[in-house]
Amino acid sequence: MLLALPPLIGALPASDAGTSAADLRRAALDSTGVAFAGYAQAAGGLALPVGEQLTGVADLLSDRTTMRTWYRGVGDWRVDVVSPTGETGVHADASGTWTWDYVANAATRTADTALALPSAPDLLPSALGRRLLSEAGDAELSRFGADRVAGRDALGLRVVPAEESASVGRVDVWVDAASGLPLRVQVFGAAGGEPAVDTSFLELDLTTPPAEVVDFAVPAAAGIREGQAPQLLLAATRGTRDSTLVLPAALAGLDRRTIEGAPARVGVYGRGVTLLTVGALPGRASDGLRTALAGAPGAVVDDLGVRIAAGPLGLMLADGPDGAVLLTGTVTLDALAAAATELTGEAP
């Protein structure tokens, strides 16, 4: 009887509502003002062939991440990644974030920048759901049923990207019927199967958390570090400065877009959940990556360069006229090859 209880509770029907897909998307995007405290788990199924430098990102996309969060509003929240023996807490304020790392006994101050590596707060269902819905067109949206997530009625909203080059098959977002908060997000590759990213609230409380829980004061004995994001931006700007790579207005059928604050010689193409980033990579950085990519299972090596797919995420190191060009994004391997051909003028 005890064993049967959890599935029985899980089978309790959730009440659906007649909300349209467009209205539900609007409600989700407008939920940035909804305060909450919650407990969430994210599971990634992407095996990224990266070296020592990006283990944090690779772990985030391949492991199970357990998070506690307190959200009072935009620029006033805290997300803790909880592990059995430690904790990493990100506290956001108006100008940036403090990241507390118990294991390193250090607090890191990071200013908001246009370019930053993915971190745990990006995987929170509320943040990820809003991000993935932000540019979805009405024609890409559909409704599907309802489910109970974190004990609340959640309405299903599906995004199927319209672009031919999309490697994301669909994104399923369960949106809280009462508040509009995205409660669960699943990202599937074009082939379907297991989700590449699955993040969900397990507990949610919609009362505003107290300010003292979100605020952060550096402990007396802790070290203080400067965040990597500005260096990352600087390195990306410097690394691409001497490049003669000409970024066209469109690549693989995806239009170029401008991102304020991003390095001028890094091109971002596409929209919604179909994005492609292109930039020249200095020799010292490309050699290690080339070896890692070529050694990854399923790697395609040809005259264009080397490319792999880690779930819906495509990575390619193309041989440009004056050095390596890194192409990465949520596009198919064929789209990567097409983009490389357009960039280098070489046929595959």
Partner: protein, 269 residues
């Protein structure tokens, strides 16, 4: 009868030798750390151990974390596995039951003595850890830092350590219940203790497998490390509450099974 069993347990030199040996490892670790000044890198080794060099008040917790995965369950399994099977093997069970007290009361008395052993053992490990921590390491008068990076006063550390001791005791009751149940099935205390340990090793192994994640929340060792959550700010009660509930279910089911088995069993030795 309970008093008789308690006296028997705590007058036996073996009980104190077991508790003494259980403390040997944390003391050795503390001496090594103090002499070499080489704490494990943060995030490696038992939880809180990397922090004790700068704050000795955390050593009771580090000591408990050192013995929790293996030594403590072994000690509890051996004592609980011996409860009934030990009497049967020694040929004293039928004499015990010849008294008018009855089998249920004997089982309850054995259960209480096992619980007392678990509590005394955990408290002694923490107490020895406290003394060792005060003697060998620096003690910060202002307290320490929680896992969440907030300041915690010595009083708060003391309170939360008491709660952690209680939680670890509860965690061990599941082990004791397994061993006590097996103890009613066999006449060999060794088989009962090893049976309980086999369950724990299987549980620890299954917990690391993603393929077993569907029933991982019901594994007896699933929430053992949740006492660490007492040192987050705010305290993360989720796993602690689940851990207590899970142990309660194991204890109720296994002790009921032990009772059903023991009260209907033919006593031949």
């Amino acid at each position: 009868m309970i008093a008789v069993e308690l006296r028997k347990l705590f007058r036996r030199p073996r009980t104190w030798v077991t508790i003494g040996m259980l403390n040997a490892l944390p003391v050795l670790v503390a001496v090594l750390l103090a002499v070499t000044d080489l704490a494990p890198r943060p995030g490696e080794g038992p939880v809180f151990l990397s922090a004790v060099l700068t704050n000795g008040t955390l050593y009771p917790l580090a000591a408990l974390a050192i013995v929790l995965p293996l030594f403590l369950p072994i000690a509890v399994s051996v004592v609980a596995g011996e409860a009934i099977a030990g009497e049967a093997q020694a040929g004293t069970l039928r004499y015990l039951l010849a008294r008018p007290a009855g089998r249920t009361r004997l089982l309850v008395a054995k259960l209480v003595s096992v619980i007392a052993f678990v509590l005394v053992t955990v408290v002694v490990v923490a107490a020895v850890g406290y003394v060792v921590g005060q003697l060998l390491f620096d003690v910060q008068p202002i307290g320490g830092t929680t896992l969440s990076g907030t300041t915690i006063t010595p009083e708060q550390i003391a309170w939360r350590t008491v709660l952690a001791i209680g939680y670890i005791t509860v965690s061990m009751l599941g082990v004791a219940a397994f061993a006590l149940f097996f103890s009613t099935l066999t006449d060999s205390p060794l088989a009962a203790a090893l049976g309980a340990l086999a369950v724990l090793i299987a549980s620890s192994l299954l917990f690391t497998l993603d393929a077993a994640s569907s029933f991982a929340p019901y594994l007896p060792t699933r929430y053992w490390l949740a006492f660490v959550d007492l040192f987050r700010e705010p305290v993360l009660w989720r796993d602690i509450v689940r851990g207590i509930g899970l142990q309660a279910v194991y204890v109720v089911v296994l002790v009921s099974a032990a009772w059903a088995n023991f009260t209907t069993k033919d006593i031949t030795s």
